[in-house]
């Protein structure tokens, strides 16, 4: 039974006419249902064909089945047919059979084992195209078992065959090693000799194989380091060769092979000086001579940059690499700009200054249309902010925030807060910036923003007047941004008296009456836009004003009593308690609602037991352990207070924990209790002290191979220290990463400090020493000193945190 169609001359290579007819019919189906019907019929035909056995139709039927499979229909009944066709002596049947095996069989099916024998036979077939089918299929879906079985065959083909088969056998070997790593040693001997092949296909395969062997076994990697000169030669040949039409892509000779070699060189040169030195010249040559006007050249340059950054290259070469990335940033091709930023992100910590040079271009990329590019530009921009450029960078970041896509907003706000915290030039700037963010993107900020901002505001006591005025104005304008409204309410409650006084140096004075203020708060209370937490803030603020205003106390009384019957339980409870404060405990109202003291910095991990670690507190004699809940639950505080006040009438400061009376003592007592616990839970050591400058080293983290320390400079002299900078040197095998310093001016009288984090990577676990050169100016005189540190303070976290834990657990309510 023949098909009845004879292929015409020009379709002699695609004689599958009936297959094409079936495809045509399927495509002409107008509905999904119609298509399903046609497919069902065809599948029935195919099944019948399979059952009939060898009639010259089988390969045709399998081809049809494979098409049906690609449309998404089940085709597992064709699996055995694949096995049969692979065993056929006819090439056309083998060809489609192997294709079917690759599409329908995977190593998890039992049928795949059945083809192992056919593959074995075909590997030694007289026709290289049959061998090729077997090799391809093995590399595509060979299971571990099949690989073990056929590995010796593959190794033989690797050594003794023509180029066509050799290149395929090499990649087959790669697959085998990935599946059965122990077989790697079988291929290691022949791999090296393959590098002397001239055929690019084989050479490429050889490089892939060697890469795979090196990645699997560090000893093999050592061995192959000896091949670096050979690889360098091959690369040189490619880079300097004259035009070869066979391998040329946009002026680059075989970019695929070049990239692969560069990648292997990267692995071989990593952490090894000898190998890195041997490839230095080559990398410089490739970096300088490769034409990057088309993607092929850019791909090679990109790989070169990656290699330079990952081996022990000379600093000149590293600068060259960063400059290439900088050039990429200006490229018209968006892909190349994206690649550049991803790479710059990886090196912004280690080569900070080099990347800083391209800051302008990076900031421009914030305006790119593509969100992925924007995201990269944002991450890089945040990493490049320093004390020197904070003002201009923040301008750009805030502009970006107002127009950025919604999926990037919370990342942007977090980033802005982080850099503002680290590098604010002044408290007022800091507060203004946070307010700006809250006005623009209040819905996308972290939860801790509100308490953090409040804490910041309390510490800036000279700005209370300014802050409350500014917040009042923002509140009057609109009340939809919850975090902003919450902070505004809190401030008005706290500093309402300053608001009403009307005079403020930094802002145009505006007359604000008591009614105005209460109106604003009541609007918040009544608005449907206000969340329950916000309304809590507003109610408490209203209550606090009762001791800060003079005329409208009755109005406050009535507001508070109304909310005594509010449906919201939280509000109701507060209102009832405030009512009680008005009635039964009126004599205490003033004391309870007194101005809050300055709060210590409160990070999420700390509870009220831990003292605030920051030196920002201007009033260290009155630290109050702050509970995160303090701000939003003054009501429960009052409750506890009332409980406590069963008998005494000593005015107590607002204190969250009834059992924490010991915490009302000063911080020094606290320290005694904890047996010498420093405010910061890690050990610091002074390493240099002169001219009022004191340099301390603090160990933040220590593992076997990595140490992270912070160098802290403080100044007890009468004058500011300027041009403060640190340089460091470490033993040869240790890698040093100095992060950007927090600034270069240390204010006098201990009013501020400069910190710089240093990461030391010590893979060989040598004894760590660091030599630090300190340079600074004091009263116009330049000083420079060197200090060597031979031992590092160990982070004493472990034992002391145990103390912390026991302490806090007893203190928490």
């Amino acid at each position: 039974m023949t098909t009845g169609c004879h292929a015409s001359k020009d379709t002699v290579m695609t004689p599958s006419v009936r297959l094409q007819e079936m495809i045509r019919v399927i495509r002409s189906a107008r509905t999904q249902g119609e298509e399903r019907g046609i497919i069902q019929k065809e599948c029935a035909d195919i099944r019948a064909q399979f059952r009939q056995g060898d009639n010259g139709e089988r390969s045709h039927s399998l081809a049809k089945l494979l098409y049906v499979h690609m449309l998404g229909y089940p085709a597992h009944f064709g699996q055995m047919e694949c096995v049969r066709l692979i065993a056929s002596p006819r090439y056309s049947e083998k060809r489609i059979g192997y294709l079917g095996a690759m599409m329908l069989l995977d190593e998890k099916q039992d049928a795949s084992l059945l083809i192992t024998n056919s593959i074995k036979n075909d590997l030694s077939h007289s026709s290289q195209y049959v061998q090729s089918l077997a090799l391809c299929t093995l590399a595509c879906m060979g299971s571990a078992e099949m690989c073990r079985d056929l590995a010796p065959e593959i190794e033989r083909l690797l050594r003794a065959s023509n180029c066509y088969i050799k290149k395929k056998a090499t990649l087959c070997a790669v697959h085998i090693i990935r599946k059965v790593p122990e077989l790697a040693e079988l291929f290691t001997p022949s791999a090296r000799s393959l590098l002397s092949e001239k055929n690019h296909g084989v050479l490429h395969g050889a490089v892939v194989l060697i890469t795979e062997l090196c990645e699997h076994n560090p000893d093999t990697l050592d061995q192959f380091r000896k091949a670096v000169p050979e690889l360098v030669q091959i690369m040189k040949g490619l880079v300097t060769s004259s035009y070869s039409p066979e391998h040329n892509v946009a002026g680059i000779s075989d970019p695929f092979l070049q990239v692969r070699i560069l990648r292997l060189l990267r692995i071989l040169g990593h952490n090894n000086d000898t190998a890195s030195d041997a490839m230095n010249d080559l990398l410089a040559q490739v970096a300088t001579n490769t034409d990057s006007s088309k993607t092929a050249g850019s791909a090679v340059l990109y790989e070169t940059v990656l290699t330079i950054m990952d081996i022990n290259s000379e600093s000149g070469l590293r600068v060259l690499a960063v400059n290439i990335l900088g050039r990429f940033l200006l490229n018209n091709d968006r892909n190349i700009r994206y690649i550049s930023m991803t790479s710059l992100q990886k090196i912004v910590q280690t080569d900070h200054n080099a990347v800083q040079r391209h800051r302008g271009t990076i900031v421009d990329c914030l305006k790119d249309q593509d969100t992925s590019v924007k995201r990269r530009a944002l991450e890089l921009s945040l990493a490049l902010v320093s004390a020197v450029n904070i003002r201009s960078m923040m301008k750009e970041l805030l502009i970006f925030l107002s127009t950025c896509p919604p999926e990037l907003r919370s990342q942007t706000t977090s980033g802005i807060f982080n850099v503002a915290e680290r590098y604010s030039p002044s408290k007022r700037w800091h507060i203004d910036t946070i307010l700006h963010v809250l006005t623009t993107a209040g819905g996308d900020v972290r939860d801790e923003t509100v308490p953090n901002l409040i804490q910041l505001i309390t510490t800036a006591s000279e700005l209370h007047c300014y802050t409350v005025h500014k917040l009042y104005r923002a509140l009057v304008k609109e009340i939809s941004q919850q975090p902003l409204v919450q902070v505004a309410c809190w401030c008005i409650g706290e500093y309402g008296d300053l608001l009403l006084k009307g005079e403020c140096e930094e802002i145009e004075p505006v007359q604000v009456t008591e009614d105005d203020v209460l109106d604003a708060l009541e609007t918040v209370l009544q608005s449907h836009m206000s969340s329950p937490a916000t309304r809590g803030f507003a109610l408490t603020a209203t209550m606090k004003l009762s001791t800060r205003i003079t005329d409208n106390v009755d109005r406050i009384r009535s507001i508070v009593s109304i909310y005594g019957s509010c449906i919201d339980l939280e509000l109701q409870q507060r209102a009832v308690e405030y009512n009680a404060l008005f009635k039964k405990y009126d004599h205490m109202r003033a004391a309870v609602l007194e101005r809050m003291p300055v709060m210590g910095k409160n990070s999420p991990g700390h509870t009220n037991g831990d003292t605030s670690g920051e030196n920002k507190e201007p009033d260290p004699s009155k630290p109050k352990p702050v509970e995160a809940g303090l701000l939003s639950e003054p009501a429960s505080q009052v409750c506890d207070l009332l409980d406590l006040l069963g008998g005494t009438d000593t005015p107590l400061q607002p204190n969250p924990a009834p059992t924490s009376t010991p915490t009302t003592t000063s911080s020094t007592d606290l320290l005694d209790l904890l047996g010498g616990l420093e405010p910061t839970p890690v050990l610091t050591e002074t390493v240099y002290e002169k001219n009022g400058l004191r340099l301390k080293i603090q160990c933040d983290k220590q593992t076997e191979t990595e140490v992270m320390v912070t160098l802290i400079g403080s100044n007890s002299a009468q004058n500011d220290i300027t041009n403060f900078s640190l340089q460091a040197a470490v033993p040869k095998s240790v890698q040093l990463q100095m992060k950007a310093p927090s600034g270069n001016v240390i204010p006098a009288h201990g009013l501020g400090q400069v910190t710089q984090t240093v990461v030391l990577n010590n893979p060989n676990k040598v004894s760590l020493k660091i030599r630090i050169r300190v340079s600074y100016s004091n009263q116009g005189v330049m000083h420079q000193d060197t200090v060597q540190i031979d031992s590092f303070p160990s982070p004493a976290c472990q034992p002391q945190s145990a103390l912390c834990d026991t302490y806090t657990s007893s203190a928490s309510p």
Binding site: S16, C140, L171, G201, E246, D370
Partner: protein, 155 residues
């Protein structure tokens, strides 16, 4: 250039070719195809050709009505992947003569045969266009010769 998979699909999301270089169950393959088509087809014009998906890099490029989409590992070179996709298109173009989507639909098995001469196990096996073209041609001739020998038509 350890490629995990290579997909070709139309602008309507119809799959035209799927090459998997890793063993994955059928169910998971279907899910990945769906994810890829959704992700790539929703990309706006004038955006870059690289995406992140799980822990892989996805590189895609549109040629006329077909999207070529491949998945790479994190250490791979995306720019080179673009060159690989382009090379495959050139190979198809040479074989079919001004290739279009219909050629690939009606001769899908040929598209696979060509791909199998270019990539193997997720890696490039031959970097010379002429070499690949010659091999495919020779295999096609082999098909014919064998058929003539067996004196039975192939399809």
């Amino acid at each position: 250039m350890t490629m995990h998979f290579l997909l070709l699909f139309s602008r309507q999301g119809k799959l035209r070719l799927q090459k998997w270089f890793l063993p994955l169950p059928e169910r998971e393959r279907k899910k990945i195809v769906k994810d890829m088509t959704t992700m790539v087809l929703s990309r706006k014009p004038r955006t870059c050709n690289f995406l992140h998906w799980k822990d892989l890099k996805i590189v895609y490029k549109r040629y006329a009505s077909l999207y070529f989409c491949c998945a790479l590992e994190n250490k791979d070179n995306e720019l080179l992947a673009l060159e690989i996709l382009h090379r495959y298109v050139e190979l198809l173009d040479k074989y079919f003569g001004s290739v279009c989507e219909l050629d690939i639909i009606f001769n899908f098995e040929k598209a696979y045969f060509i791909l199998d001469e270019f990539l193997m196990g997720g890696e490039i096996q031959e970097t010379s266009k002429q070499s690949i073209a010659k091999s495919v041609e020779a295999s096609d001739m082999l098909q014919e010769t064998m058929e003539e020998y067996m004196s039975k038509p192939a399809f």
